[in-house]
Symmetry: C2
Subunit: 222 residues, 2 copies
DNA sequence: ACCTGAACACCGTTCAAGT
DNA sequence: ACCTGAACACCGTTCAAGT
């Protein structure tokens, strides 16, 4: 009578339920399903079967969680086959970098302090500079080229989520062509002219085109 | 006795105090001073000497305000002198685009639905395609080139706020050089090698380098 | 038409407690 | 050491009211 055992006890979670890894894992799941804004201390706790405050035993604050998330995602970077010839290997690195960003667009939205993206960059540097040196590229060009490539990939990744719908709609470019063709040729001569043999680009096509353009200065591999 | 006139009346704001323009203006001020996160309906209202709910008379919700902010900022895009030769003009457009983004980095964080950045792109297109046509660039190359340039500029702008501190610290690159030089030459031969004539890049130098690289395929202007 | 108070359903986080 | 309840200072926004 004094202690009604079979209350609707909200069952305290057992001691081992939580860990930094489990939290990061749950956060990534939430991000990939519903986007970065869906990551909330309270919703994270729900997903883990725990009360909100429990998370603070494992991370100082929410920022620390998101930082661990980016670290985990960046660690999934896929190094290409080292046997590829130098230019193919270089392109492959950029491809892997691009793929990483478009499968987890949230990385771009998480504010990493001071160097952030630089993590992957740093690990890339040695190998990339070695390849470029082998291609007889001078130091200044090597550094400039890598910086340019990184920025291009970053831009592609930033635009990808917005442009993605265009790739998936087979009629998109035909509609654009018709729209441009309807423009008065006197005012928009250049755009009008392109509609005769209208070229279409997927996001990946653009990526390929840009890579070609930036790497064009390099000596062709045999 | 019945109506104590001189209460500490919280003085209702007069009817003309608010307007979409005033709200957008105040929001931009807040953004430029304290960043995008500082933009809050309540703080915006404070800044305008008005109560929070008043803003909803002029905008449907907060997103609508931020959309108006990006529209306003993008409208400040500075078209370069049309008398410049084609390649110089093209570079100048990209410079203006870059400057716009680095003076108001918040534009990059505001989620513009579907086309967003495309606003400026669209207005650029006709003029840029006209110039490229005059340079005898085929349609496909023109579209690919513009897409590449935009992504590169976007990447530069994204990285700029993070890398800005490097530009402003005169000792930064010397410290990096020493750090690289201290690496064991057997494990990091390439990075070690660069330290003998260590090249330094400001963010603007990188921008210039990348522009050169991407536009290298174009025929040199006379 | 424009400005507003009260209230609601959310946040991240502090602090003091439980086990 | 780890999990938690209550509470605080914030959010955006709805709804019904004032002028």
């Amino acid at each position: 009578m004094s202690s009604p055992r079979h209350k609707t006890t909200p069952t305290r979670a057992p001691r081992g339920t939580l860990s930094p890894e489990a939290i990061v894992h749950a956060a990534i799941e939430l991000i990939d399903r519903d986007g970065l804004d869906a990551v909330t201390i309270r919703r994270l706790a729900d997903q883990l079967g725990v009360r909100p405050m429990s998370l603070y035993t494992h991370f100082r604050d929410k920022d620390a969680i998101l930082l661990a998330v980016t670290a985990e995602l960046l660690s999934r970077f896929q190094w290409p086959d080292p046997d590829l010839d130098d230019i193919a290997w270089l392109r492959q690195v950029m491809h892997a970098y691009f793929e990483l960003f478009i499968t987890h667009p949230a990385i771009l939205q998480i504010n990493t302090p001071s160097d952030g993206v630089g993590e992957v960059e740093a690990r890339m540097s040695e190998q990339i500079y070695a390849r470029l040196a082998r291609l007889r590229v001078d130091h200044r060009t090597a550094i400039g080229l890598l910086a340019t490539l990184i920025r291009f990939v970053l831009g592609c990744a930033t635009l990808y989520p917005v442009r993605r719908a265009w790739d998936e709609d087979p009629q998109h470019w035909e509609r654009v062509r018709q729209q441009w063709a309807r423009l008065p040729a006197e005012v928009y001569p250049a755009m009008h002219a392109t509609t005769v043999d209208f070229p279409t680009f997927t996001q990946r096509d653009v990526f390929e085109f840009g890579l070609d353009a930036i790497l064009a200065s390099l000596p062709r591999s045999p």
